[in-house]
Each structure stands twice: as C-alpha cells, then as structure tokens.
C-alpha cells in the first residue's frame, strides 16, 4: 500500500515537472518561425477569386504578383515583382491602349505533383507568359466567378471570351468536360491578351485605364499553372484548386488545416534566390522620412529576403486567449482587445509595464473611409429637394462629431475624415479642413431655418421632420453607434428613426431606393483617388447601374471632373482636379465623412519593427525575428509555479486520511 502510494506520488511529481504552457514542439524554439493567428480561415486560395483579408493572408505569401508595392514608401509606390519593369501605356492609333508585360527570367512555380501528372518526371516548371494569359482567361470564365470581371472588361475581348465560353458550354455538354486549358484554347482566348513570346505578353485595353497597373499588383492577375487547375478538381480524393495553392512566392504551403494551423515554409525555388537584386527580393534601403528612426531600415536594409524559415498562422477564435498567449511570448504580434485597451495604451503610448517587457506599439491609419451617405434620389434629403435638401444635409453634417464618435466607440483609434480620400493616397491633404465637418450646432440650426425646417419642424406637418436611418446591423453594439449619430440630429430637432433590418432586407431597400440615410465603409482596392471618388460617380450609381455608389449621387459637373481625373497620371493638374471634386462634395454633402480607422498592433522586442503595410499583399517576407532572444524570454516568463499542486495534493491527503482511518477502525 505504502509502496503504491509512493509510486503514485512520484508519477504525479514527474508529470508536474513535465508541465509547460508552451504550445509548440520544443525543437521549434531555435527556428526563425513567425507566429501569428487567424480568426476565420481563408474562404479560397484561388487567386483569381480571393477578395478578403483572410484569403490574402496566405495568398500574399504563396503567390507573387506581377507588380508589388514598395514596403516602406508612402504614398504607396509600385515596383516590379514577377515582371522585369512596370509596363507603360502605349496608345494605339485607334484609341486603344497597349501594355507589354515582360516576365522576369527564371521564375518558377513551386514543386507540385500536378506537374508530374501531365509531364512525367517534372517537379515544377518555369513561369511563362501564357500562364498570365491563363489567369486573365480564368477571370473571364463565368464558372470561376471572379469578382473583378466587370472591372476588367476594359480588356479588349474579355467579355466576348466569357460569352463564347458560356455559349459553347451550354451548346455542347461534352465541351465542358474537356481539360480547362483546351476549353480556353478552343474558344479562341482573349483578343486583348496576346502571348508574344515565352516571356512577353501584350495587354490591350479598349480605353485608357491607368489603374490597370494596380490590378497587376493584386493576386487576381498572378500567373497560375493550368496543370494545377486541371489536376486539383476535387475528384478522386484530390483537393480543389481553391484549397491547394501552386504559386511562385517566397513561401509555399507546408500544412493547410483551416481548422487549426496554416504553416508556410520557404520555397526553395523562389525567383528571388536567383535574382538577389530584384526589387521584390531585397529589403529596401530607403523609405519615407521617419522610417530610419522607427527602425524600419536598421540592419535589415539591403539584405536578401525572406528572413523567416517558416510562418505559422494558428486559429484563434477568441481574442482573450490569443492575447494571453501573446503576453506569454507565444505569438509575435497581436492587436489589443477592446476591453483591455486602457490598461495597455495610455494617451497613445504603451504602458510602462509593457515597455519594460520590451513590447512595442505600431500605429497606422488604413486606406479606408467610413461615412454616412444620403440617398440622393430621396425627395426629402436628396437632389430632388434642391437647395432645401442641400442645407438639410449640411446642417446634419455640422452636428456629426466624428472625434467624439471615435473616442466613445474606438478608443480614439482613427482620424476624423474630411474628404473621401484617406491618408497614403494621392490627393490626401493633411492640411485640409472641411468647413462642414467641424462641429457647429449654431450654424446647423441657422441652416435648418434657411432650409425651411426651423428648429427641425417640418412646416407641412407642424411636427419634427421625420427621417429614417437604415442599417443592416442589428447587434447591440452597432445600434449604440447609430444611436449616437441619431441623437446629434435629434438635438437639432429632427426626428430620425433607426430602422435596423437584416442584411438582405437592407439590400432590398437599397435596390428599391426605399432608404434615406445609411452608414458604409470602403477599403481601398488600390492606392488611387479614383478608387474612392468613383463611389460618387454617376456611372456607378446603385439605382441606375447597380454599382457601389449607394448614395446615388449624380452630378454632371462631378462626373466631368472625374472623367478627366481618372485617366491622368499623378501630376499637379490631377491634384487640382481632386481638389475641385473635394470642394464640390464639401458643398453638396452626399456623404458625411466619418473617419479613417487607425490600426494598433503590439509586437515583441525580438520582432524587427513591422511597417503596417496597408496595401501590400506580400508582407511576411519582410519580417524578421530573433529566435534566441525569444526562447530566452519565453523561458523566463513561463516558469511554472508548482507549489499549489503540492499544496492541493497535501490537502486531499489530509481530508481523505481521517476517512480511511475511520474505515479501518470500523473494520476492526
């Protein structure tokens, strides 16, 4: 009995000594692994389809893009990626525009069984111009469902290609079963995407569209091997292509388990290893002013990429366990949970306690704008109300306090927006102050008088003017934010009601034009003012064309300015055009610009300062960690405290022993 007890105690002590809260295998301590997390897994790894941040988390590392954004320079600057140089527009005599895309020599796809399936013995293969053409054909393929098809129909013959393909598939069911590249070839490809040679491709656009270069910096246009699309069809136990990436990037997928771990490892055949001077293969040596001081240049400058051996994204659905593991040193980077924000950040800087642990804070304003929009088709708040409507919108804009909104709901993370254009985008002017975005209740009341609603009273009914704020969010938190906005208008005397419905009912109201006021946000697709100002262009009006101009703002003067602005290169005249459009919006007020959100990220001292990337997709190749320093601190921060276990064991014995004694006594 005593011996058995002693053995049990020994086993318990051993188990306790093996206790550790380290969630990783011990051997990984010394490796240059970057530990990060995801909440919702990528929906797809298909670069022609993926359009969300979580998709691009993986795709950005695994697929190189034709062009890339400079890691440090702001405003965002393009540089060559898989292409040798940034292509320039070549006007054709008939008004069309051509671009010649020249692939870098020696770029290869990652090794994959798909290649051996079609070419016995092949592990991988070089990237060819026809792979870029294949990507454009996939954008045109209705069965792929690429979200950018409508945007890129400016490519000569893209729509016709889509129509031919669809018609052919409907006509002949056998055709649809053929290998995908053969289908594309048989319907004749896209007229405006012409393969000139192994490494050269000509892209022809029907009209000038300088923004095309930004689309070349997105994964939509990245080359894709037809072998992978044909092989990964989801049949006979093979993955779907949407689940199996065969890219060209600095990392390739080592494990893809969307429920718990996505691991990427250095790709041994990345082009950057053969072209150490290529702009996308080396850490930049120059950036914007202040980068040196912020540690973005430092010893990484000029060194070959990537620095990491491996990137691990682990699934963390709950913020608090994630943040706690970050504090223990098991994640390298983290956002700050809303509920503990004040504990960690005081007046915009990190708390002394966190600083003492070597932690640092990175802040950046994203290329995003949140705004309140008016339905300009509406007879009361919109264009049909003429001057009355304009003054009403101006008055409502004058009492909407974005700064207070940010303070109450976002720990002041963000800057009040003065115009649709966020920082980092050409045309953003930090000096500009919108006269209708400074809180002035007196002037607002005066404007209401001029609009014929003195004190908010509608003279027709004798009661406060009744307006509706339509929203697709019904959660308590969102409703609080809407209530905040509505209260300010109520103080003016207006009677604004929040109509919260499901997303679909809201969409339905928008389709029917049965809405007055709404709140939306827009995240830049690319760093160009066109990508924000088109949200108010009549060609994108929701009621007319189903576009994202939900405010249905249609103004001939604005449209004329927009048409001139969108095709210009970034020069003084373009800036002037943007200014004129800004002034027009300032007066017309189809939007009340709210704010540009600011991201706060915490990172540990062993992580080289990460510059918030904003637009860029490939960010992990610029990251660096010091695994030795990390292992040392993790060890120091996570020594298990064992005495409570011994105390608990002793307490149990003390409780149970008298019982056993009684039992023995009774037995005797």
């Amino acid at each position: 009995m005593k011996r058995r007890l002693a053995a049990a105690a020994l086993a318990a002590a051993l188990a306790l000594s093996a206790c550790t809260n380290n969630p990783y295998p011990d051997a990984d301590d010394a490796r240059a692994i970057f530990y990060s997390a995801f909440d919702d897994p990528p929906k797809t790894l298909d670069p022609q389809v993926a359009y969300s941040v979580n998709d691009h988390l993986v795709i950005g590392d695994v697929y190189d893009t034709l062009l890339e954004y400079h890691y440090l320079k702001r405003p965002y600057t393009l540089m060559p990626g898989l292409l040798e140089e940034i292509p320039h527009p070549e006007p054709l005599p008939d008004g069309r525009i051509a671009y010649t895309l020249r692939l870098r020599e020696g770029a290869r796809f990652h090794a994959d069984p798909a290649f051996a399936h079609f070419t016995p013995g092949a592990d991988d293969r070089p990237v060819r111009a026809e792979d870029i053409a294949f990507a454009f054909q996939r954008i045109g393929d209705p069965a792929v469902g690429s979200p950018v098809f409508e945007t890129l129909v400016k490519i000569d013959g893209l729509r016709e290609f889509a129509e031919r393909l669809e018609a052919r598939r409907k006509q002949d069911p056998e055709f649809g079963k053929k290998r995908i590249d053969e289908q594309y070839r048989e319907v004749g490809g896209i007229a405006g995407v012409e393969v000139l040679s192994e490494r050269e491709l000509r892209l022809v656009l029907d009209e000038p569209y300088p923004q095309i270069r930004f689309w070349l910096a997105m994964p939509f246009t990245t080359p894709v091997p037809w072998e992978a699309v044909a092989y990964y069809d989801g049949l006979e136990g093979r993955d779907h292509f949407a689940e199996h990436a065969v890219g060209t990037g600095p990392f390739r997928i080592a494990r893809y388990d969307k429920t718990s771990l996505i691991a990427l490892e250095r790709a041994p055949n990345w082009y950057g290893l053969r072209h150490p001077d290529a702009p996308g293969a080396v850490y930049p040596s120059e950036g914007e002013p202040g980068d040196e001081a912020a540690g973005y240049l430092g010893e990484r400058a000029g060194k070959p990429l990537p620095f990491l051996d491996r990137v691990e994204f682990r699934r963390e659905k709950e913020t608090i366990p994630y943040f706690n593991k970050f504090l223990q040193g098991y994640y390298d980077i983290s956002s700050i949970p809303q509920e503990s924000f004040d504990k960690f950040v005081q007046e915009g800087t990190l708390s002394p306690e966190m600083q003492a642990r070597g932690m640092k804070l990175a802040k950046s304003v994203g290329p995003t704008v949140y705004y309140i929009g008016f339905n300009m088709d509406d007879p009361t708040v919109g264009a049909p109300a003429g001057e009355r409507g304009r003054k009403l919108r101006q008055a409502m804009s004058l009492v909407t306090d974005a700064e207070e909104y940010l303070r109450v709901f976002a720990n002041s993370r963000g800057i009040p927006a003065q115009s649709p254009i966020p920082p980092g985008i050409f045309g953003y002017d930090p000096e500009y102050k919108n006269p209708f975005r400074t809180v002035d209740p007196e002037r607002a009341a005066q404007l209401l008088v001029e609009a014929g609603y003195p004190g908010g009273i509608d003279p027709e009914t004798g009661r406060p003017l009744r307006l509706t704020f339509d929203t697709p969010s019904t959660d308590t938190r969102s409703l609080l934010t809407f209530q905040f906005l509505v209260d300010a208008w109520r103080r003016l005397g207006l009677d604004v009601e929040v109509a919260a419905t499901s997303y679909n009912q809201f969409q339905d109201k928008v389709r029917r034009g049965a809405f007055q006021i709404f709140q939306f946000g827009w995240v830049a697709d690319y760093p160009d003012p066109e990508n924000f100002l088109f949200l108010l262009w009549s060609g994108m009006a929701r009621s007319k064309n189903g576009g994202p101009n939900t405010a249905n703002f249609q103004n001939a003067e604005y449209d004329a300015l927009f048409d001139r602005m969108k095709v210009r290169e970034d020069d003084e005249e373009r800036l002037e055009l943007v200014r004129e459009m800004r002034e027009l919006l300032e007066r017309e007020r189809p939007w009340i610009e709210l704010f540009h959100p600011e991201g706060y990220a915490l990172y540990h001292g062993w992580v080289a300062p990460p510059k918030p990337a904003g637009m860029a997709f490939a960010v992990d190749k610029y990251r660096r960690v010091e695994p030795d320093a990390r292992a040392e601190l993790r060890e120091a921060w996570n020594r298990p405290i064992r005495w409570p276990a011994y105390a608990l064991a002793a307490a149990t014995v003390l409780v149970v022993l008298p019982g056993i004694a009684t039992w023995r006594r009774e037995r005797r």
Binding site: Y24, K43, G145, P147, E243, K258, S260
Partner: protein, 321 residues
Amino acid sequence: MLAYLVRRIAWGFATVLGVLLFLFLLFFMLATPDDIARRAVGEKAPQTVLDQWKANHGYDKPRMWNPESPADTMLFDHFRRMLTFDFGRSDADDTPISQRLRDGSGPSLAFTVPLFVLGLALGVGLSLFVAFFRDTYIDRATTVIAVLMMSVSTLLYIIGVQFLLGKLLRWFPISGFDPSPEVILRFLALPVIVGLLAGVGSDLRFYRTVFIEETSRDYVRTARAKGCGEGRIMTHHVLRNSLIPILTGVVMAIPFLFTGSLLLESFFGIPGLGAMTVDAINANDFSTLRVMVYIGSLLFIVGQIATDFSYTLADPRVRLG
C-alpha cells in the same frame, strides 16, 4: 425483441424526417439563399458572381414547390442528400463535408473520450466514497461543494481555469491543439479539467442519491449480516444494482463523444466537430449545419436504442417488447 427493434427504428426514422423538415423551415425563415451566397463570396462581389454561386450550389431552385418538376426543389434536394448520406460541400468554403467529419471527429474524440472515462470514474468513485461516509462531515462537506460546483457556469470554469492554470501558474497552454503525440497531452489537460469540474458536481449528487437509496435495501443488510465487508458491499452489490439509472445517462452520452462539445472546443481552439458546428452557425453555412443536426438526431436515436438494450444486459429481469 426484433419487433421492438424494428418499431423503434421506424419511429426514429420518422423523428429524423421531422427534424430535417423543421431544420429546413427554420433555417430558411431566418436566412435566404442570397444571405448564404453573400457570406460565401464576400461583400464586394457583384450580383453576377452571387447568382453564379447560387447556381453552382443549387440555391437557385424553387424552395419548396416547383409545379413543373416537383423533384427540382431545394427541399427535395435537402432530403435526398441527407437520406443518401451524400453530404456535398460546405457552403462557406466548398470543402467536402464528409472529409471535414472525418478530420473533426479525431480531435473531438481525443478529449471527449478521456473526459468521459475520467468523469465516470471520478463521479462513481467519489459518490461511492461519499455514500460510504454518509451523514459524516465528508458527506455533508462534499454535498455542499457539489451544489456549489453545479451552480457555476461552464464559461466561468473555462475562463477561471485558463487564467489560473494557463496564465498564472503556467502549467498548460491556455488554448490550442496539436495532434502530434509529443505535445497533444498539454493541450488536452485544460479542457478535460474544465469538463470534469463542470460535470462532477451533478454526477456526484445523482450517483450519491442512487447509491444511498440502494444501501438501505434489504439485500445490503443481509450481506452485512453474512459478514461481507463494507468495501465489498459497495463495489460488488450496491454498484451493480445501481447500474440502471447510471446506464441511462452514460450509454446516451457515448454516441455524442463523436460530436464533441460546442463550448469547450470553441474556447480551447480544438478543431473538432463541436467547433465546426459553431463555425457553421456563424457563417450561415446551411449545408454543414444540417449535416451536424442530422447526425446529432441519428446519434440520439442510436443512443436511445442502445440504452434500452443495455438495460437487458445489466438487469436480466428487463424484457424488451
């Protein structure tokens, strides 16, 4: 007995059909195919992409009634797929659902099986111990503690254990999962401890009552009179005769070991079927959700029939018919 089995299965089948119909109606009362599609393709995707997605996933058909071709409706598809076990692909990300079931049952079983075994052993063992010492300080103290433990929400145990054992004492990782044998035990410790803490209180109260009722019976007195030891009485006579109420709870729980736990898996980041269900709810993923509900109802019926049969094994007097 065979007739009984056939009758139970027939009733079970009818129940499952009802569950499937009810699920379909409830789900589409709250969400439309457009909602599902919008979640899957993202906010910025144009209507054409949305329509294509609906066509690819069969959500463009009439919902319940199609006068031209009655079999070409979403409701018909729903029943056909479920009854033939052709689960198809997830609406959220197009992964085959049968594969996700296979992948998810491993992690679920990895913590539900130890939790079940340890929970049963701890519950029965402690209750025997307490029943043995009934009306002493051990019994009274344990009863008070058990009631206290029953009254605390599982969520609080999760947060408390993560804070105490993960963050403060640093014995185990706060959350996470890794199936490699080198580290798996670390990850299982906390969810199993939480499961034990959350379950042991009510188990203890229930089993203790059962055992105490049993110890007051005549055969126990007879056994004592014949000189049988107290320990032997508890483990050989009382435990055996208390099996029927114990089996009622226990056999029912066995099939559900596969489906894991919604709460524990979500909070501890275990990629099991419970977490998958929660994800499906959050993502409006009808095709996954209906499979989980369907499997849940099948397991429930299997569990009930198995419980009935286990009675005949535990007590020869029980006859099914």
